[in-house]
């Protein structure tokens, strides 16, 4: 066990953890931040996506030791009192159906926006390439991001 400090959604946390624990499990089980989901456990589906130091990562593939001292953003850190423009557009455009991929999708969408204010449709598709959604067929997720882009 090792004491590890990290910043999540702007708040400093200290966890006592096996250094090889997955960031996903620390978030969900220890810190009760259950917004981040597990879909496959092998970095394929992106449901566990979070942003670490500005970059999109699969939290199921990040040992907690690697997150030491890092800044992490999860779905819980997006909205303040009201939803962010991106979340509002997911509502309006139908970007969320069953909702299980949605936290990861929002993180991927946020990462796209961090890279580029006005991404092209191709750049949006590529940016979401690591996040699987079985409900939407992606169109309305892409449209949610485009709608946010046009107001950026």
């Amino acid at each position: 066990m090792k004491k590890i400090k990290l910043t999540i959604n702007g708040k400093l946390f200290s966890v006592n953890s096996n250094p090889f624990s997955r960031l996903l499990d620390v978030l969900r089980d220890e810190l009760k931040l259950t917004g981040t989901k597990e879909g496959c456990g092998e970095g394929e589906c992106g449901a566990c996506s979070v942003i670490m130091e500005g970059k999109l990562v699969n939290s199921c593939l990040v040992p907690i030791l690697q997150a030491e001292g890092k800044k992490i953003l999860t779905v819980e850190g997006l909205a303040k009192k009201s939803l962010t423009p991106l979340q509002k557009n997911f509502m309006k455009c139908g970007g969320a159906q069953c909702g299980i991929c949605t936290p990861g999708m929002l993180m991927a969408a946020h990462a796209i926006q961090l890279k580029k204010k006005k991404p092209s449709k191709k750049e949006i598709r590529e940016g979401l390439g690591g996040n699987l959604c079985r409900c939407t067929g992606y169109s309305q997720i892409i449209e949610s991001i485009q709608a946010t882009r046009s107001k950026a």
């Binding site: 989901k37 092998e42 779905v75 069953c98 690591g130």
Partner: protein, 740 residues
Amino acid sequence: MTWVGKSALRKEGEKKLRGEAKYIDDITFPKMIFGITVRSPIARGILKQIEYLPGVDWDSIIKVTAKDIPGENYVALIEKDQPYLAEEKINHAEEPILLLAHADKNLLEKARKLVKFHIQPLPTVYTLEESLKQKEIVWGSNNILKTYAIDRGNVEAAFKTAHSVIEGTYSTGAQEQLYIEPNGVIAIANEKDGVTVWGSMQCPYYVHKALVPLFGLPPNKIRVVQTETGGGFGGKEEYPSVISGHAALLAWKSKLPVKMIYDRMEDMVATTKRHPSKTHIRTAFDKNHKLLALDIDFTIDGGAYATLSSVVLSRGTLHASGPYFSPNIKIRSRAVATNSPPHGAFRGFGAPQSLFAIERHMEFCAKTLKLDPIKLRKANLVKQGETLGCGQIVKEKIKLASVLDHALQASDYNKKRKIFAKNNKNNPIKKGIGIAVFMHGAGFTGSGETFLASIAAVKATPEGKIQVLTSNTEIGQGTNTVFSQMAADALGIDFSDIEVAQPDTSFVPNSGPTVASRTTMIVGKLVELAAKDLKQKLIAAQLLKENYSRQEFVAACKKYLKDVGDLKGMSQYKAPPNVIWDDKKYQGDAYGTYAWATYIAETSTDTRTFETKVDKFWAFQEVGKVINPNLARGQIIGGVAQGIGYALYEDIIWKDGRMANNKMSNYIMPTTLDIPDIEVKFMELPYSYGGGGSKGIGELPLDGPAPAILNAMENAIGIEINQIPVTPERLMALMESNPL
């Protein structure tokens, strides 16, 4: 202001977007422990002994075998053939034998490896072809789970007078539902309080029905609660009865709450998939290319137990002749048993398989007859007053020809066929455009809805809201939202005045399962009727006039609650008067109504890498009244995406009756880079017996993509492809044996 027809925002959307929606794995109980399932390593045999090898403290681990079952050891659904835990006979790979529970998940995984099953192997049957040979009998007396026969007119006589006779064989593979949230439940069970299960599921009352005999308890001692569900697509229709029973058995023995969540590999290897199928079609045409006779032989692989195969087979059989009229029809269909894990419900439920066959066949007939495939279809589309394959006379107005014309126009189908033919000549990347014309019957098949006799209710809450009470689940498709829209309109109040109760069998009536594209159409209608019943109670109590404002309605509800007591409206399903199905003869009005569609795919096939990509897709359909255009469009696009996967990517590799590629990294579902822009268009002919005038649409979009894509590929490369999925490997083999 009315709400039906408007894109009301998803009712539970905000909590999903905030990450606050609670799925089963997000929930914990004090003292909760974890459960796992230890499964058979081989597909068929006799279990002789369970050996617990040293290495863990076995006394600290809760163990459940078939001997620990307090009630009866079968999963109640249709037949009683499937045990919760194998006793002696093993009938499929990954069959559950032993359940373990402990507070430490890591210890459980260690223990799993230390269980040794001594099984005497028996000969196995892995394919429907082998099963039909009946060399080895693995189910009943002949491997046949169910058969249907349809005979109308005189098929053999028609073949004798035919101008042309064309036949073909078509097969489809298994497909994994691949909801992103795996199956999972939490159970609490003891003799005093009975059994409670929370979990990810489509049909709480199916789970309820299964737990009653398993525990031998009265129905009121069993409670099933659906938690937020991360996709179902049929994969959480019948399977949750199994995992719920397992977790509840461990909870019963341990006297502690038990959480059982499958990881992705277990979910893929052990749970249901779409039935593989094989269809042989023989058609007779007259000299004007009108169908004289259809002779269809349809077989599906049901896996090791009967589960839902009989009803999947029925829907497949009833859709097998497609949207065409033929005066003479013969259909023989059967579901056969193999030693694969049972195949089960998956969006479309047999129809994608048989419609794939007929729509590939019509294309093949056109090619053989050197006819325009559109002309051949148009010459044979069923018209109002004519009969479908099941013997159902189409009594309602039908706009399929117009749907077809609109899709042709929007996609520029005719022009593209010419341009592609010209451009493909010197290009290694061959473009094609293909079509599928089809229908999907909504609601339970035959007299299913009458037997279900679903009940819905609404009630007034002390806070001045109206709560909808049904057992129909929100699984992403928008149940909460469309029920709220329909209830709001039935009561003349606002969308925000409606709440939808979490399905919990301790207080919601049984409005039937969330399957068969029935929720909006059938249960939505019941919600409307229940709302009207509530309104009538207020009027009868003279608290409300015929015309009222929203404020007056809320005030009347509050006064009723104060002065009279509980205010509840109810309704129960009654078949529309003109819908008659004959179970004995297996003919009649198979469905209350149908949605009708034309889908067109434009594809590129690279003849060097054998990869195919869908470049553009048009999904046009007549679906009754569209309740929520935004949600409806989402349903269609999502279904088309699954259909694209079914056609091109999603290949289950079977090894000794077991899925060998049970990971998301080697079972390939479409990503954002594989799904093109999909143009969706709805035409509306409101259906008076459907909620808000709707027809069911949930399953429809899975039916069309595979035949449309394969027809486009045939158009591009000129080779018959009659088997899905068309992976690059399969296409390479086909093209090497049929050089361009």
